[in-house]
């Protein structure tokens, strides 16, 4: 009896040991993170320095604030501006050796762009609905990456590159032609910039996949994704290094999902996902909240993997994230995008998070690509939260108050004033913006504009750098 009991125990132990041995785990660090916008042009084709329009955007990328003619068209929608005024703003005097044309154009246009509401006092980027829509070219192609989030095949849905119908990625439809995000092989300015900053240490995302069966086929696997406090380690060539260790924090930017693995491809259940959002400034680093989200990870032969995360994101988060890292005008003029047009495009294409109070959708389907490099993903020694940089507190505050004012404005449709501390209207290169979109000489700073007088420059540091 004792013997048979021992045998049973041994078998049980062996079974347990066998189960233990089958437990497996894979880790990755995100080495590239960009919106899943599918470029429809050829990578090696150009018209001058313009990339090919392509089947995604037959009229090319956005050209907001690119040339005087376009600026004139945009400002002519502002009914309190006279045609003469519009013409002067679009063509600021900037010739000869005594004037700095870059500064004149940049500051004139960003200032004018910040006041396009139906009233001269309304700041536009905080109250985009109060300005007439300058128009955002939208993606026209039928092929797009993402997930079928609602399980339906609808007229506006995309077909995935491998033929799956019903792909919900209306963010691509709305913003896929936006100049700083469009380009071959992740070559859009803000795609490059945000990834450069991520790899430089602005934030780190890690993925851990684990299970108890075969890593290639496991219907009870788990996928975790979230913020890591450890900065990405580069190899000697400057690429993201493989097989370094990263801690995975169970923070507000962490999600654990059930997953199924078939032939190596991991696909999670559909649930809310929290993970870091794309950022290129510290004040943008925060949770990307995907409703009804889903993640897919497909391994590559070299040990890396291609990830895709999708879900419905709040249009207010997307708008504020893109607009207020610096200010709407600074980024708009520099990147040839118009946040008013982007706002209208988001609302027009919103397709999730139905709000019964307003009868409108507050969310838009979206998808983001992740390039994953193998890593050891480990638990922190002790629980810890996402660290904050005290030195960036002022900029974070600026972002937060501006975003809050915008959300209040779009929720109530009551124009909100520029809150104290906001980055909107803050001096850039010593140039502030007065009511009505007038550039005014503010406090100068080191390296401030050479066109200002010495006395004006000696007043103090500038608030913002471009």
């Amino acid at each position: 009896m004792l013997q048979s009991t021992l045998k049973v125990c041994c078998v049980t132990l062996l079974a347990v040991a066998g189960a233990e041995a089958a437990r497996w785990e894979k880790g990755y660090v995100v080495a590239f993170y960009d919106p899943a916008y599918r470029f429809g042009g050829r990578a090696d084709y150009s018209r001058g320095t313009d990339i090919e329009p392509g089947v995604d955007c037959p009229r090319g990328s956005t050209v907001h604030f690119a040339v005087p003619q376009q600026v004139a068209q945009s400002l002519s929608l502002v009914r309190w501006r006279s045609p003469k005024e519009v013409e002067e703003l679009a063509n600021p005097p900037a010739t000869g050796l005594t004037r700095d044309p870059a500064g004149v154009y940049f500051h004139t246009w960003r200032a004018a762009s910040a006041f396009r509401g139906w009233n001269r006092e309304i700041e536009t980027y905080i109250n985009p609905f109060a300005a007439e829509d300058p128009g955002q070219p939208q993606v026209t192609s039928r092929i797009g990456e993402g997930f079928n989030l609602d399980g339906k095949v609808k007229p506006g849905d995309f077909v995935s590159p491998d033929g799956e119908k019903g792909i919900d990625n209306q963010l691509y439809r709305a913003w896929g032609c936006d100049a700083p995000w469009r380009g071959a092989n992740g070559n859009g300015t803000l795609v490059l910039r945000s990834n450069d900053k991520m790899v430089e240490g602005l934030y780190t995302i890690v993925v851990r996949i684990s299970g108890n069966k075969d890593p290639m086929n496991d219907d009870e696997a788990t996928l975790e994704i979230g913020y890591s406090p450890d900065q990405i380690v580069k190899d000697a060539r400057g690429n993201v290094g493989a097989d370094y260790s990263y801690r995975l924090l169970h923070s507000e930017q962490y999600t654990k999902l059930k997953a199924r693995i078939k032939d190596g491809v991991v696909e999670t259940e559909q649930a809310d996902i929290h993970m870091p959002q794309i950022a290129w400034f510290e004040n943008q680093t925060r949770d990307a909240f995907f409703r009804q989200g889903k993640i897919r990870v497909a391994p590559n032969a070299d040990g890396t993997a291609a990830g895709l995360v999708g879900g419905y994101r709040d249009f207010r988060d997307l708008y504020t994230q893109n607009a207020f890292a610096q200010s709407g005008g600074v980024q708009g003029v520099r990147e040839h995008e118009d946040h008013v047009a982007l706002y209208y495009a988001l609302r027009r294409n919103a397709d999730g998070m139905y709000n019964p109070k307003t009868g409108r959708y507050d969310g838009i389907s979206s998808a983001y690509r992740l390039k994953l490099v193998p890593a050891f993903v480990v638990e922190p020694d002790k629980p810890m939260d996402i660290p904050s940089r005290i030195s960036e507190a002022r900029r974070r505050q600026a972002f937060d108050v501006t975003a809050a004012a915008t959300i209040k404005a779009v929720d109530t449709l009551i124009p909100q004033p520029v809150p104290a501390g906001s980055g909107e209207l803050t001096a850039t290169d010593g140039i502030e913006i007065g009511v009505g979109g007038v550039p005014i000489r503010g406090r100068g700073g080191r390296g401030a504009r050479a066109t200002s007088s010495t006395e004006e420059k000696a007043k103090g540091p500038s608030d913002e750098r471009r």
């Binding site: 990578a43 090696d44 084709y45 150009s46 001058g48 320095t49 313009d50 990339i51 690119a66 900037a94 010739t95 000869g96 050796l97 005594t98 700095d100 044309p101 870059a102 500064g103 154009y105 940049f106 071959a184 070559n187 300015t189 490059l192 910039r193 450069d196 900053k197 430089e200 240490g201 602005l202 900065q231 580069k234 000697a236 400057g238 400034f281 510290e282 520099r334 990147e335 040839h336 660290p387 940089r389 030195s391 960036e392 290169d429 100068g444 700073g445 080191r446 390296g447 401030a448 504009r449 050479a450 066109t451 010495t454 420059k457 000696a458 540091p461 500038s462 750098r465 471009r466």
Partner: protein
């Protein structure tokens, strides 16, 4: 009222302990050259390393000085937990060896001030800064924090600072100490003599404050001492006429083309006549506002707005501004190299560090920050090298230059930018 002689300072010795010219050493000088928005990788980095590197498009303006030049590519700017302050972190890291926590602030003295502490004593000006685009705040020479030492913003103001009131032309036979300096010195000496009595009656904090005060008194004394002694110079230079006050100084390329060589010449003469041993010249702010008349964007804005030519693989207009920035650097080197002194030129007895803020301005990237140096530090620094892509922190250049200049420093920089090993192959 006794006139005190200067102590015999280390910086009076040359590196090899060789005989000093005229009983006093020919000093080694240090300079910085700052330009904003970097260069274009594919156009400036030579493919070959060592001394056999091929001349590249964007280094071409420096061809005449190739043997006196060192080019450093592939330098890293690890930021650790610091933010990437666009247009700031790179320049601060290169000039202090510390990634700054805040944009617009330096976390230590900049390298020119660290060097000036050693080589800048005993002359009228510890250091001099000039801004070729007309902005007195366009200075990257700092004692730390958010304040920079103001730059002379016009050729005339630079001239007046260097050769105006208080200047005694050491090339002339009638040199004599300025009586006003003698008078000021007597007042200071009287204060300094009371030091012991005053300090006895103070608490620790006040003693510290007074200590700082007396240190600054002592520094002033030393400067006055210097001004009471005739500088020993080897160079055959003549002090030029004052530049016109009507010269237009701003970011326009045609104006920069005129003003930069003019300021460079004044700085070179000041170095040659031992008015200062540290000269800093900037031709732009980090957000380089250089522009060509008719170009609606200018340099900085072009870095963000101009598309990358898919065939060429770079931004064409930006590349031209890069090239012109190097032309301005060449203008400085030309003036330094034109002055003969001792067994070489002023450039041979100097080191100039040319640095910038971004490696790829289009996206505000800092890794791969270009740094160039020129001059052999009186034979202490080997030149003619392309130090290629060794992935060193950018601070390694600063450490190497300080070693070459005789600064007693074992390591330089902080956190991941802290380096202990200079480029020993470059040190003679």
């Amino acid at each position: 009222m006794a006139v005190m002689g200067l102590p015999f300072l280390d910086c009076f010795l040359n590196s090899k302990g060789q005989a000093q010219t005229g009983g006093r050493p020919l000093p080694t000088r240090f300079g910085t050259f700052f330009w904003g928005c970097g260069l274009t990788h594919s156009l400036w980095i030579p493919k070959k390393a060592g001394t056999d590197w091929e001349m590249t498009t964007q280094l071409k303006p420096l061809e005449p000085f190739r043997k006196k030049l060192n080019a450093f590519s592939g330098l890293r700017v690890p930021l650790d937990s610091k933010p990437n302050g666009q247009h700031w972190s790179g320049l601060a890291a290169a000039s202090t060896g510390i990634a700054p926590a805040r944009s617009g602030e330096f976390e230590s003295k900049t390298i020119d001030q660290q060097v000036a502490e050693v080589i800048g004593k005993g002359v009228r000006f510890r250091s001099v800064a000039a801004s070729a685009s007309g902005d007195p705040k366009q200075s990257y020479s700092s004692l730390g924090g958010s304040n920079a030492l103001p730059a002379e913003a016009t050729p005339l103001s630079l001239y007046l600072r260097l050769f105006g009131a208080g200047f005694q032309d050491p090339t002339k036979g009638d040199w004599k100490p300025d009586p006003r300096i003698l008078l000021q010195k007597s007042v200071l000496s009287a204060v300094a003599e009371d030091r012991h009595r005053v300090m006895q009656n103070l608490g620790a904090a006040d003693r510290a404050r007074m200590d700082q005060y007396f240190t600054s008194v002592r520094q002033t004394e030393l400067q006055m001492e210097a001004e009471l002694q005739r500088p020993t110079i080897e160079a055959k230079v003549a002090i030029p006429e004052a530049p016109s006050k009507d010269i237009l100084v701003n970011n326009a390329w045609p104006n920069l083309e005129v003003v930069t060589p003019l300021m460079a010449r004044l700085g070179a003469i000041a170095l040659a006549t031992d008015q200062t041993r540290v000269f800093n010249l900037s031709v732009s702010s980090p957000q380089n506002q250089m522009f060509k008349p008719g170009d609606p964007l200018g340099f900085h804005q072009s870095t963000h707005e101009e598309g990358v030519d898919p065939k060429l693989g770079y931004q064409v207009r930006v590349a031209q501004y890069n090239l012109e920035s190097m032309q301005l650097f060449a203008a400085l080197l030309k003036e330094l190299d034109a002055i003969q002194e001792g067994d070489g030129t002023l450039l041979d007895h100097s080191v100039v560090m040319a640095f910038t803020d971004q490696s790829y301005a289009r996206i505000h990237s800092v890794d791969g920050l270009p740094v160039l140096t020129a001059g052999g530090a009186s034979g202490r620094l080997k030149t003619g090298y392309h130090v290629a892509g060794d992935n060193s922190p950018v601070s390694r250049v600063g450490l190497t230059l300080q070693k070459a200049l005789g600064v007693s420093v074992d390591s330089w920089g902080k956190d991941s930018l802290q380096v202990r090993t200079p480029y020993t192959d470059l040190l003679a």
